[in-house]
């Protein structure tokens, strides 16, 4: 069982919702990324999504675009991101790390080499934003051979047929994009999300994480009522942006923010669990 599957199994056994923070590797400096990952784990992160910077992040909103530009200005490459994961793994053997990024840096590295080096560095899976299953056969096979999970996005526009198609190749968990738009966009319609998460779960057996539009403890709590995982990206990255000049303050600040979210999510989990017990 993969590290991601194990983690979701533990969460399910203890009836808890996962908290999955996203940061862009190397933002604002390469040196801060590993300490930040460690601080997020201490604050209650269950899985870490690590963004691999790409020059043309067409699915990302302005907050994550700027994070990407900060990281690229520091020369952060896919190889450098894998090295960060390797360093993180020296002290943390259990928290899953999922890379999130675009295909081209992987194309240039070479599929086989990427799969092999990512596994060797301690990466657990990847969400390649612009690689739908239809185009991904070769890379999917190589990643699976290395024991890596393939995490996919599902959108409000995904039809039942597409959800099933993605369910056939996805592993670990799926990431439901809760609003039509780019990362950091819009407000959340919890009822609509609940309905769609239910529809997804009726079609595929994987845990469903929900992201896009989760800004604070309140929205995190709402999503925790309906999802297996709460995914938070832009809300973290915008705080990193305001601290870009003082990176040493980032791990504590983000740790505190995640602790608030963790508390809000746990409160929901408790009430759901106790209601279920009654």
């Amino acid at each position: 069982m993969s590290r991601i599957a194990q983690r979701f199994q533990q969460l399910q056994d203890s009836k808890r919702t996962a908290l999955i923070p996203f940061i862009t590797a190397g933002d604002p400096t390469p040196q801060i990324t590993v300490p930040l990952m460690q601080a997020m784990v201490s604050a209650g992160a269950d899985v870490i999504e690590l963004g691999v910077p790409f020059s043309d992040p067409m699915a990302d909103g302005p907050v994550i675009q700027r994070a990407t530009e900060r990281a690229l200005a520091q020369g952060v490459s896919l190889t450098a991101v894998l090295e960060m994961v390797r360093q993180f793994r020296e002290h943390d053997g259990t928290t899953p790390v999922v890379l999130m990024g675009y295909l081209n840096p992987i194309e240039v590295m070479g599929y086989a080499q990427f799969a092999q080096q990512a596994a060797a560095a301690g990466v657990d899976g990847a969400l390649i934003v612009d690689l739908p299953p239809e185009e991904g056969h070769d890379l999917i096979a190589l990643m699976k051979a290395q024991g890596l999970d393939l995490v996919y996005l599902l959108a409000p526009t995904s039809t039942a047929a597409r959800i099933k198609l993605i369910g056939d190749v996805a592993s670990g968990f799926v990431y439901y994009v809760s609003v039509k738009g780019v990362t950091g966009a819009g407000h959340l319609d919890t009822a609509a999300v609940a309905a769609q998460v239910g529809a997804i779960k009726s079609l595929i057996p994987l845990p469903v994480g929900v992201g896009f539009g989760i800004k604070d403890a309140e929205t995190a709590a709402k999503v925790a009522q309906v999802a297996d995982a709460v995914i938070v990206g832009s809300a973290i990255v915008s705080q990193i942006e305001t601290l870009a000049a003082t990176p040493e303050r980032i791990p504590d600040t983000i740790g505190n923010f995640l602790a608030e979210l963790r508390q809000a999510i746990d409160a929901v989990d408790c009430s759901v669990t106790s209601r279920a017990a009654e």
């Binding site: 043309d56 690689l131 739908p132 239809e134 995904s158 039509k180």
Partner: protein
């Protein structure tokens, strides 16, 4: 080079009762008859690949060999499928084709003339040069062929809002134009750098009622405008139609833009046959994203005796690294929804391009060109800023035609090519746009501020 007279008895004449629609693109009624009675596509023959006799690419997933495809976020997969189905339905609908043909004739001004640049040809002292005058279209470039078609498609799909990306501004103007005519809201994304160097076109778009949004991310040029338009589309998918201006992007865009632009080549093929009694010896067109080039090339792909040349922007020179020539000096990768040749660094980051012409200043290229290059059916070369400028002035002074700087790259290449050919051979050049929009750029090189 082999020369084929019209109605060569050695070739069975293919004359289908209805012109092929989906794969062959749309016909244009003024030249339809001529085109369908022209010699059929030659089978086998010389060249690097075995069979161009039955060209049907892309496949159903939008692949041209290993290129093309649909490399997009999940949020766009369903809208692209809707677009594919809507386009297929339009292709099968004679009313759609009739409406398109009428628009191309009455609004765009098609067919565009074929002009024998006799004086320029004589000065060059080689082959005869014929210009396909896309510069005489409404709005001054080939771009409008595509926007007219996509706008009709948008209307059929019930969309009320048009978005577009633009580099030089020609596609933005062409989109704003058709949006004004159909009463659709129009938002054009344009890199901040391009907004500054194409002021006149920005003003034209605003006059036409479009909102021009300067894009401040990345290199602030065409590629970033494309990213921003994609983001808008993802967000406003319900009411918005994205008019992509070139033969790049995810399937079905490279196919449908090609089909709409193929009117250029269909007309030119018939016009050359009528004028000279045979097919041209060579085609030349500039390639940024590559829509004017594919529009000219596509109806000739099966004519193996016709040599095909695409001309990229060599900027300051390929060796300087300051250029926009992915086919000449790049390598395959994935950007903007398709696999194609790209300008990228060793880590797969897209690098900034340079060309004097904003319309060629793009780090990728349409996937069909990538495939035509690898297959050997077309050859790609690059022309520097300086060479393009020289051709710009040369054509202006000898023929009284001021070409766009983009088209000037094709002219500069034709100049070189003509000198290697005999005076009884013919080169067909796509004069894709007029140079009015480039007055500021050219004047500033002469030290003038307009």
């Amino acid at each position: 080079m082999a020369i084929h007279a019209d109605k060569n008895p050695n070739h069975p004449v293919e004359n289908p009762p209805n012109p092929p629609l989906l794969k062959g693109g749309f016909s244009s009624s003024p030249v339809e008859k001529d085109t369908s009675s022209s010699p059929p596509f030659e089978k086998g023959g010389q060249g690097g690949i075995s069979d161009f006799s039955n060209y049907t690419l892309p496949d159903e997933h939008g692949h041209f060999g290993v290129y093309g495809g649909m490399f997009v976020p999940e949020t766009l997969m369903h809208p692209l499928e809707e677009l594919r189905l809507a386009y297929a339905a339009c292709c099968a609908d004679p009313n759609f084709q009739a409406e398109l043909d009428a628009d191309l004739r009455d609004y765009v001004g098609r067919p565009s003339p074929l002009y024998h640049a006799e004086r320029w040809s004589r000065e060059l002292g080689g082959a005869q040069i014929y210009l396909k005058r896309e510069d005489l279209n409404h709005t001054g470039a080939h771009k409008v062929n595509n926007t007219v078609g996509q706008a009709l498609l948008a209307k059929r799909m019930g969309k009320t809002r048009i978005i577009a990306e633009t580099g030089a501004g020609q596609h933005g103007v062409a989109s704003a134009t058709v949006a004004a005519r159909l009463g659709l809201e129009c938002v054009v994304y344009m890199g901040e750098v391009d907004v500054a160097r194409q002021e006149a076109n920005v003003y034209r778009m605003r006059l036409l009622g479009a909102t021009v949004v300067p894009v401040k991310s990345g290199s602030r040029t065409l590629k970033d405008a494309l990213n921003e338009a994609m983001r808008d589309w993802v967000t406003n998918i319900d009411n918005t139609f994205y008019i992509i201006g070139t033969v790049a992007g995810p399937h079905p865009y490279p196919m449908l833009v090609r089909d709409f632009q193929a009117v250029i080549g269909r007309e030119a093929r018939a016009q050359m046959l009528e004028r000279t009694g045979r097919l041209p010896d060579a085609l030349v067109a500039c390639v940024g994203g590559g829509s004017n080039a594919i529009g000219l090339f596509y109806p000739f792909l099966n004519d193996r005796e016709v040599a095909i040349y695409g001309v990229e922007a060599a900027g300051d020179g390929i060796e300087t690294g300051h250029h926009a020539a992915p086919l000449t000096a790049g390598r395959p990768g994935v950007l903007h929804g398709n696999r194609t040749y790209l300008m990228e660094d060793a880590n797969g980051q897209i690098i900034e391009t340079h060309s004097i012409s904003a319309g060629l200043d793009y780090p990728g290229v349409g996937p069909e060109h990538a495939w035509l290059k690898d297959s050997g059916r077309a050859s790609y070369d690059a022309i520097t800023d300086a060479e393009a400028l020289a051709a710009f002035h040369h054509l202006t002074r000898t023929e009284g035609i001021i070409p766009a700087l983009e088209s000037s790259h094709a002219l500069a290449y034709a100049h070189k090519l003509a000198r290697t050919l005999r005076p009884d051979q013919n080169i067909l050049v796509n004069l894709s746009g007029r140079g009015d929009k480039d007055m500021h750029t050219v004047a500033s090189l002469d030290g003038l501020v307009l």
